[in-house]
Amino acid sequence: MANAHPTPILEVRDLCVEFDTMAGLVQGLRGVSFSVMPGETMALVGESGSGKSVTAQAIMGLIGLPGRISSGDILWKGQSLLTREGQKAAGKLRGKSVSMVFQDPMTSLNPLMTIGAHLIEVLRRHMGLSKDKAFARGVELLDAVGITEPKRRMGQYPHEFSGGMRQRVMIALAIACEPELLIADEPTTALDVTIQAQVLDLLADLQKSMGLSIVLITHDLGIVAGLCEKVAVMYAGSIVEAGTAKTVFDHAEHPYTQGLIRSTPRLDDRRARLISIDGAPPSLLHPPKGCAFQSRCPVSSRQCDEKPARQATPEGGSVSCWTPSVAAWSEPSESPTGGQAR
């Protein structure tokens, strides 16, 4: 895993994104940095509103006015995508070398175009295929993502597909041009649990067979463990902790990460009580000066009035906390009353 590659395929440096709303300037991203190596799978985890999707949109160049990237940089194989020349290059990359699967497969396809038309459109655009070749390739792709009778399905409209099938189509569209990086934004959230597993398996298979890098955006820690090598945890527009999946899960440093793990039900550990993190994330309209998690943190102190710097952890990850690795959430005592009640 520690395949020390010289240049990451994608690097995000200190990225800040602002949205100008009626209420004021909302700071969607407040200095996000991470990098993805070729063939690597990274998870971007956090609750809704933490900035995961905004990060993805920024990479895909989908931040529309009145939102804008206010500072920071996004680099593709070491080249900035935000400079003037970079933006031109980015236009060619998007959809071809970097592609994206969105959360809601129900609304992500044009209702008036057949599935085939969607596929043929991108294949002709990015791969320069003729109409016939694009059709043939489209059939192969549908087959590859596990859609039966692909030929007949090519002529059907999105409303004739179920949610899971549509997400497969979205994946087929995303891998159509043999991308190097796939960003999957909550790809399974809108799907039934059984379908979720199928779609995740499909992503894992594709990742292996195509050597894809994947950035998986999710709020569900449960699906991260099986698929991803690296994890970055986002909170209130910044990354609070990052590292390999193993270190983050086994030695969570940040109180928020610890809380997140402890609030996720686990099949293999029935005894551990779930905890809940009280309160709500801070408003990004007026984000706190210090640590954003301070108000909800069980182990916060005076120090936390100042913003903690990002620091390396002994396990090779990084964390932004003044008191990392403190067990923030005391083990819920096996309370005698609770025991008696059962």
Binding site: D20, T21, M22, G64, L65, P66, R68
Partner: protein, 322 residues
Amino acid sequence: MTVTSTSSLPDTSLKQGLLMSLAPVGRFLSELWRDKAGFAGFAFLVLLVLVALFAPLIAPHDPAAQSVMARLKPPIWMDGSAPGHLLGTDMLGRDILSRLLYGARSSLLVSVSVVALAGSFGVMAGLIAGYKGGLTDAVIMRIVDVQVAFPGLLLTLLLVAVIGPSTTTIIVVLAFSNWMIYTRVVRGIVMSLRQTPFIEAAEVIGCKSSRIIVKHILPNLIAPLLTLGILEFTNIILAEAALSFLGLGVQPPATSWGLDVAGGKNYMMIAWWPITFPGLAIALTVLSINLFANWLRVTTEPAEREKRYARGRAAKMRRTKA
């Protein structure tokens, strides 16, 4: 984000109460001021209503007074104008400004009556259809569907032709051919409201239907009906003007803007003012209503407001970038 202080002193509460009762008016005006076009429209409408109410006091002349000597005199700023006739005179020597002021009465009388008549009937039908459902609903909506597909203006012409044109006739006929839209809108809202938990809860508790309608459904109808009514207003003003222009609406000696345009039509080769001013009056009135309605629609919907703001900011950011 209004924070009401729970520990207000007793002697200030009276003042506060007074301010609170005036606050909606102030809020309305300051909100309106943000949209300059909407504000201008509203101001023009207020002016129009005042003019219509006080026409006899303001009008410099009797709108029906003819004068052979002062026929087709141009407006005051042109050569050959007659003193005292600010906007000139028409082919019978009648003062155009005075006729405009009185014409506002016809327009408002007809449009207010039609909107009130068609609106109340249409809303009733919609409430009944939406609330009763079943066969009642099917019958009412079928009538609506059929009537919507009627050859509207032609049927109006036929009706006016057999009944004989008059102000009352056009009020009745226009109300007859314009009630359906209210029914459709109201029924749609009632149907969707009936499925909301709070109405279902009220029904389960055993609230009377009349109480549910008055207490729960009517308040939700006010905003959409207001917008609809205002937009219908423009349609009726234009319809009245068109019918009067065709000679099937308001009849002389009463005045109407449409009637005045028709009167000036035959002289338009030699005099532009007899048709220009009444036409302008119609256009400005309708434009004002449209601008105000536009503001109202955006303002009553929070999502629309946010969108409007976002679009404005985006446009500004693009301009500064360019």
